[in-house]
Symmetry: C2
Subunit: 152 residues, 2 copies
DNA sequence: GTAAATTAATTAACATGTCAAGTATTGCAA
DNA sequence: TTGCAATACTTGACATGTTAATTAATTTAC
């Protein structure tokens, strides 16, 4: 009474809980929930928030670099930057050394937005640390940082 | 000669490399690159691939559950499921016990798609394991699984 | 130096994400 | 039993994601 599956040679996929891309996505959803609530108050999207942070962190920076650091594609970035410039969250100026580029820097209103949310952001992180454990969280961040440098 | 910043009380944000949501996103981009290449050959999107895997894993399942497991919102899922049903990747049937629901299950063509990509998928994972280290990878997956259950 | 290849950014077209509102059904409470 | 809240989607409108094509400027190769 051989079961038909006996000769099955198909390679089974990993269970989704052990699929790294899916696990990263699910974990991120958990962490993003309170942050989304926070940003909703300011009518600002997750993407614009990432752009603000990257531009704030890097200072005057070209769009290609923002795209890489904020995990956005250039076409999306073009539209987002245009809207954010309109809203006075950032400024943009042509690069005199390379006329193809424009340099982006944070504007007062953008900086104010960051300052406004920084305490709540820190509070969310602290709550996470309390529940997840300081050591595990640091270790997780180390592993994620290492993962970003892997070349596949 | 006091620097103006001397009295600044603003809470600084964490550097983006140590921001968990951003680190999760960047890490995911690294891992997804070869998978996107793989899926592009079959003209299938990342989202549809996740749906296929979840439906395959869970068997006949309602859409709300798929949405949760595949990290999609219901409106997106409605459209994706419609397209995938059209393409015969999945089947959908009304739940006799609850007329609001419909149960989704994988179709032959969907299963074939999974079988087709399983070896390459496994190969990608192996390459990752080689570069990243088996132990670190398992630990990372453990931490991500734990993170998903945190309540903020 | 000049043509060809490369880079930075943009645009267009369509897929997917997201929020708000709507429909049908079910569960629950008075 | 009735009516009201909750659930499971669905739809519409607009934001963002994604690919391919395009433009302008720069770099490279000859």
């Amino acid at each position: 009474m051989a079961k038909p599956d006996q000769y099955q040679l198909a390679v089974p996929l990993r269970p989704t809980t052990r699929s790294l891309p899916i696990a990263l996505l699910r974990a991120r959803e958990t962490v993003m929930e309170p942050i989304r609530d926070m940003l909703a108050k300011s009518q600002i999207s997750e993407q614009k928030w990432r752009i603000l942070r990257v531009v704030d962190e890097r200072g005057p920076v070209e769009q290609t670099a923002i795209a890489k650091d904020a995990c956005l594609l250039l076409p999306s970035l073009t539209r987002l930057i245009a809207a954010m410039e309109q809203d006075q969250l950032i400024h943009r100026s042509p690069d005199p050394k390379d006329k193809r580029r424009s340099m982006v820097r944070i504007a007062d209103k953008g900086r104010a937005l960051i300052d406004t949310h920084a305490p709540e952001s820190q509070d969310i992180f602290t709550r996470l640390e309390d529940q997840f454990g300081h050591k595990d969280l640091e270790h997780l961040l180390d592993l994620l940082e290492k993962l970003q440098d892997v070349k596949l």
